[in-house]
């Protein structure tokens, strides 16, 4: 089993619904975005294209963030999810330097959006994540809890990462890359899905569909 994602850039409109849904799902402090959609241009006027590119942790099969971690906090699970054990992390930032996708976020302090935390920020905050490295977890809590109930991640909403569930363009597909019947596996198998920066050899689990 290897959890993965295919993002259809042709569908994405850069609305940032995935961005904000992720922030809310994980109770992220103000200014921290584990994923976001970049607004890019290719070419020069008037021959220019505008492309929206969702960016996040690629959950690499060969994640450079893991071996450089001096405490073993940066880990890759057997199912491919790359995550941080916060209790072990000292916030040294080695992994952030190693990540070619800039997908790691060091949270120094509990910063809310206002002078004082709102009731929702208090209820949804995570004090244990300060001073440590944070990143996209592929919503492993949702995936694990969903599987425990017999649900299928990528198919059943309660077992699916929030970004994929929230996406209003149907641009984000999640599932098991090693299950040939899954949509992600089929989209990857047809050869049009590509990884970002293949030259760095990280073997991402996140693929993109583009023209």
């Amino acid at each position: 089993m290897r959890w993965g994602m295919v993002i259809d850039v042709r569908r994405c409109v850069g609305c940032q619904t995935c961005t904000i849904a992720c922030m809310q799902e994980h109770g992220l402090p103000a200014g921290t975005q584990w994923r976001f959609v970049a607004d890019c241009e290719i070419g020069e006027y008037p021959n220019v294209r505008r492309v929206f590119l969702p960016m996040q942790c690629m959950h690499c099969a060969e994640p450079p963030c893991v071996p450089v971690c001096p405490t073993g906090a940066s880990q890759r699970r057997a199912d491919g999810i790359v995550h941080v054990e916060y209790e072990l992390c000292v916030g040294c930032g080695y992994c952030a330097v190693a990540c070619p996708y800039h997908a790691r976020h060091l949270v120094h302090e509990a910063r809310g959006y206002f002078d004082a935390p709102t009731p929702s920020e208090q209820a949804n905050g995570h004090a244990g994540r300060h001073g440590v490295m944070t990143k996209c977890t592929f919503c492993k809590e949702r995936v694990d809890a969903g599987r425990a109930q017999g649900l299928v991640p990528g198919v059943d909403p309660d077992a699916t990462p929030m970004c994929a569930l929230a996406c209003i363009a149907g641009a984000i597909v999640f599932g098991d890359l090693e299950d040939p019947t899954s949509r992600v596996a089929q989209l990857v198998a047809d050869g049009r899905a590509v990884a970002l920066m293949p030259e760095v050899g990280t073997q991402p689990s996140v693929f993109y569909l583009a023209d």
Binding site: C15, F36, V37, T118, Q122, A166
Partner: protein
């Protein structure tokens, strides 16, 4: 460790989001131990909701909207009588009892003085922001207004980026299209002139466009800067601002002159479903049968003129010149006998577009003639004239092509020309109100509001009935009954409950300061109530608005935060937000055709938790005010009739109406509405109460796809679309001119020129450039066009004070700055991030430069409407605002009373 920390109680409360007119969308609010912490799609309704139960980025801001510490937290009254930007209002908190007593006292005084003042204007005015949204939040407040009597709902909150104004009026006139949508699920080719549905179309808009792109729909986007929607297009054509009509006219030319229209157009559709064969006399009016008054067509078989509905006429002529006799009926019933050479309206059209060549348009619009010709060819090829499609067992024409128009294109001068040409492009290939073509989304001026097809009724000359404001000498509304004068000046605005909001939104503001000649001097309303609106930001020339606001005698504002308009209020009533109040709202059906619901039904918005501040449900406010003003029984009767709720509480086999004299709480009222709504829509088969809706969120019945298309209704009633020749518009224009001139009014003459039967090209950009000379400046000083564009994160959401929205919006270029073409900026020494000043003939604004390739070199783009100075958080965003440099000017106002978001400007580095 306390119990809640160990095992938090999680509830998921179903509600709807209607923060934009593309709603309502259905969601669940996650409530953890009594605190709302998040939002998620409502997957329970994934099968029924056209976008799988998803909600967009704005809905995820609702939790922060609920707990925002910058909210108005309790009713407050002004203590500083001086109203000005530099004067602190001196807000003092008061109880709801005191606040409602204060407002009710003012309202009782109005009733004592008379509902209408000496000038004939209502003493009470009410303004709601973005007309399509407020009803989903107003509770039963509309019933209170219905009970009140005359009131002015025409003091506008602005048009521009929020509104398709010309399209609303002409669209309903031609095909019951308050707005126009492509039948995207069945469409293969879209020409979009600035339509930005991926930013403005909400969840369902994004969803349907993405699905269509995935199956191969080709989308060509013509616009001055590469918008969100343009990003997904297969081709971007950077057209010069306000020249869209020239390209559209050239497309008509290419189809009618350069192609053989007999082979590429849907001739049977033109013959039978439009006024194309109607003969036009030398006076420019239809040649009519002297006895019946019916328009005549030329029967090619019998070689004589016959009434248009003569069943024996198998081949009406579309072209040619014939000698025929009849009468022309002009303005004010003037009859003229004719025995002369006459030509079919279609022939007139062909001659009309002959000079609008692609080369002519290329010079004006900066779009190569070859591109225009290629697009015309692609459009014709994709139209598949003659093809059919079966839907629900019925065979329809299938014309999978559409031309869509964006705001600014449809607004202001040029809007008529663009709307006409676009609708005509559809008619030429039979792509009007059929699968794959263009469809109306809903009706606002016609009734019944919930069923577009049922609104189709036979009118004059074989066309649809339309409730136009009369222009005859006997029936014309000579004295404006409200301050925007829609009945007096805009026949197309009709006189429905929506018409005041669709009148010339800025005329009240303009006339308050510059009263025109021979016109009842505008007065200020004694009391102005505002809700979910901020006219001091959302109007053009915002400085003018503030000058007027200083003079308003009493303003009661339902307020979310302090803002630029309620700064001038006398009473702030804290708004119960989306997640704090109760309302059942209609979903699906023809009211939301564009969303392609396969269902119709009702959804509930409900409080998700105890309100954090001293807010009050608007239904309870309405009931309390009705009682205190002495209108309780009238208000309850309005509720019973369905005012605001759209559901009469009594019907066949049920009666949930409320007895006079009672003071029901919101929950009781909405429980009755829930029961009546489900009984009504299910034909008595089902009934659900409020508690059921609180658990389930929404209730549906199936809705057939065939109800999207006007085609079968038009065919069944033997009706035609009123195209291409606009005889009725010409007549109403001449009559309106006569009425105004009889009163000595000449200041509307330029607008009267718009009433043309076949609209001609005017130099629309020059109209805006003319503002320079009008203000003593040289147009050459202002080589850029400042435009605005929609931000999905902000549009309509009343959410500019939410930092979490700014946090994610910053990822989308254009936010928090002004977009400029990279090379054009560099020529001016402007680098990315530089602070620049944008100067127009009438004002200045500032912002950080955002250099892009996807912007024409003569264009600058400032998103949305900002310029806040009082709204918390928004006042620190540093956004430039087009409205600060725009001019509210009669010369920039078209015949429907709308203007557009564009300003000639200079750009310089500071």
């Amino acid at each position: 460790m306390n119990k809640s920390a160990a095992t938090p109680t999680i509830e998921k409360v179903p509600v709807y989001c209607y923060q934009c007119v593309a709603g309502p969308d259905l969601l669940k609010v996650i409530v953890k131990d009594g605190v709302a912490v998040g939002v998620e799609p409502n997957s329970d309704v994934a099968a029924e909701h056209p976008a799988g139960g998803k909600v967009c980025v704005r809905a995820y801001g609702l939790v922060q909207k609920l707990y925002n510490p910058a909210r108005i937290k309790t009713p407050m009254v002004r203590t500083n009588p001086r109203k000005a930007r530099g004067e602190d209002p001196g807000w003092a908190p008061v109880s709801w009892d005191a606040a409602l007593d204060l407002l009710a006292g003012k309202l009782r005084a109005l009733r004592a003085a008379g509902l209408v003042d000496a000038a004939g204007y209502p003493r009470l005015a009410v303004t709601f922001g973005s007309g399509g949204i407020a009803p989903a939040y107003l509770g039963t407040f509309a019933a209170l207004l219905a009970a009140w009597g005359p009131l002015d709902q025409g003091i506008g909150s602005g048009q521009g980026v929020k509104c398709y104004h010309s399209e609303h009026l002409y669209g309903e006139f031609w095909h019951r299209a308050f707005t126009v949508a492509a039948d995207v699920p069945r469409c293969d080719y879209v020409l979009s002139f600035g339509y930005n549905g991926d930013a403005s179309g909400g969840v369902t808009g994004v969803w349907r466009h993405a699905e269509a792109r995935a199956r191969g729909l080709r989308w060509v986007q013509l616009e001055p800067h590469l918008s969100i929607t343009g990003a997904g297009a297969g081709e971007w054509v950077p057209v010069r601002p306000k020249t869209d009509a020239a390209v559209l006219f050239a497309l008509l030319h290419a189809i009618l002159i350069e192609h053989d229209w007999r082979h590429v157009c849907d001739v049977p559709f033109l013959e039978r479903m439009t006024g194309s064969p109607y003969l036009v006399g030398p006076g420019g009016y239809y040649l009519r049968d002297p006895g019946s008054g019916k328009p005549l067509v030329w029967d090619l078989d019998r070689e004589r003129a016959v009434p248009f509905d003569d069943p024996a006429c198998a081949r009406p002529a579309l072209v040619g010149e014939y000698i025929a006799s009849g009468v022309e009926v002009g303005a004010d019933g003037a009859r003229r006998s004719v025995s002369d050479r006459v030509r079919p309206a279609f022939e007139r059209l062909v001659e009309h577009v002959r000079s609008y060549t692609p080369e002519w348009a290329a010079e004006i619009a900066d779009v190569p003639a070859a591109t225009i010709r290629r697009i015309a060819g692609e459009y014709l090829a994709a139209a598949r004239v003659g093809a059919t499609i079966e839907i629900d067992g019925v065979s329809y024409p299938h014309r999978p092509v559409a031309v869509l128009l964006g705001k600014t294109v449809t607004n202001g001068w040029g809007g008529y020309e663009c709307c006409w040409a676009r609708t005509l492009l559809a008619a030429l290939v039979g792509a009007l109100e059929v699968p794959g073509g263009i469809l109306g989304t809903t009706v606002r001026l016609n009734r019944p509001a919930q069923n577009r097809l049922d609104s189709v009724k036979p009118g004059p000359d074989g066309f649809m009935e339309q409730p136009l404001n009369p222009t005859s000498r006997e029936k014309w509304q000579a004295s404006p009954h409200v301050r925007n004068a829609y009945r007096t000046l805009v026949p197309l605005a009709d006189d429905s409950p929506w018409s005041a909001a669709l009148g010339p939104a800025h005329l009240p503001w303009l006339f308050l300061e510059d009263a025109p000649e021979h016109w009842p001097a505008p007065t200020l309303p004694d009391v102005w109530i505002i809700y979910r609106t901020n006219p001091a930001i959302s109007n053009w020339e915002t400085g003018r608005i503030e000058r007027e606001l200083e003079r308003f005698p009493f303003v009661a504002a339902f307020a979310y935060t302090q803002d630029e308009t309620n700064w001038y209020a006398d009473l702030l009533l804290p708004e119960a937000t989306d997640l704090e109040s109760l309302q059942l709202y209609r979903i699906g059906g023809t009211k939301y055709t564009e969303q392609y619901w396969q269902h119709s039904g009702w959804a509930l918005r409900q409080p998700v938790t105890a309100p954090p501040y001293d807010t009050r449900d608007l239904t309870d406010v309405a009931t309390e005010l009705a009682a205190r003003v002495g209108l309780l029984d009238e208000y309850l009767q309005a509720v019973n009739r369905g005012s605001g709720t759209t559901v009469p509480l009594a019907g066949d086999g049920y009666d949930y109406s409320i007895k006079n004299g009672r003071l029901p709480v919101a929950a009781e009222i909405w429980d009755r509405v829930c029961r009546a709504a489900t009984r009504s829509l299910s034909g008595g088969r089902e009934e659900h109460d409020l508690e059921w809706f609180k658990r389930h969120g929404a209730w549906f019945v199936p809705f057939a796809t065939k109800n999207y298309f006007l085609h079968t209704t038009m065919r069944a009633q033997g009706l035609r679309y009123e195209l291409p020749y606009q005889e009725r518009i010409q007549r109403m224009g001449e009559e309106l001119a006569a009425r105004l001139h009889e009163r000595g009014i000449k200041w509307w003459d330029v607008q009267l020129d718009e009433y043309q039967p076949l609209p001609t090209w005017k130099d629309f950009p020059e109209i805006w450039r003319g503002t320079a000379a009008a203000h003593g400046r040289d147009a050459r000083e202002f080589p850029f066009w400042l435009l605005t564009s929609r931000s999905m994160q902000y549009s309509w959401g009343s959410n500019v004070s939410l930092p979490i929205l700014a946090d994610v919006a910053k990822n989308v270029k254009g936010h928090f700055g002004v977009m400029l073409n990279r090379r054009a900026a560099e020529k001016l020494g402007i680098a990315d991030g530089d602070l620049v000043e944008i100067e127009s003939p009438t004002g200045r604004t500032q912002g950080r430069a955002i250099l892009r390739e996807g912007v024409r070199p003569d264009v600058a783009v400032a998103l949305q409407q900002f310029g806040h100075w009082a709204t918390p958080f928004a006042r620190d965003l540093g956004m430039p605002s087009l409205n600060e440099v725009s001019s509210m000017d009669l010369a920039l106002t078209d015949a429907t009373g709308s203007g557009a978001d564009l300003v000639p400007v200079a750009v310089r580095r500071l």
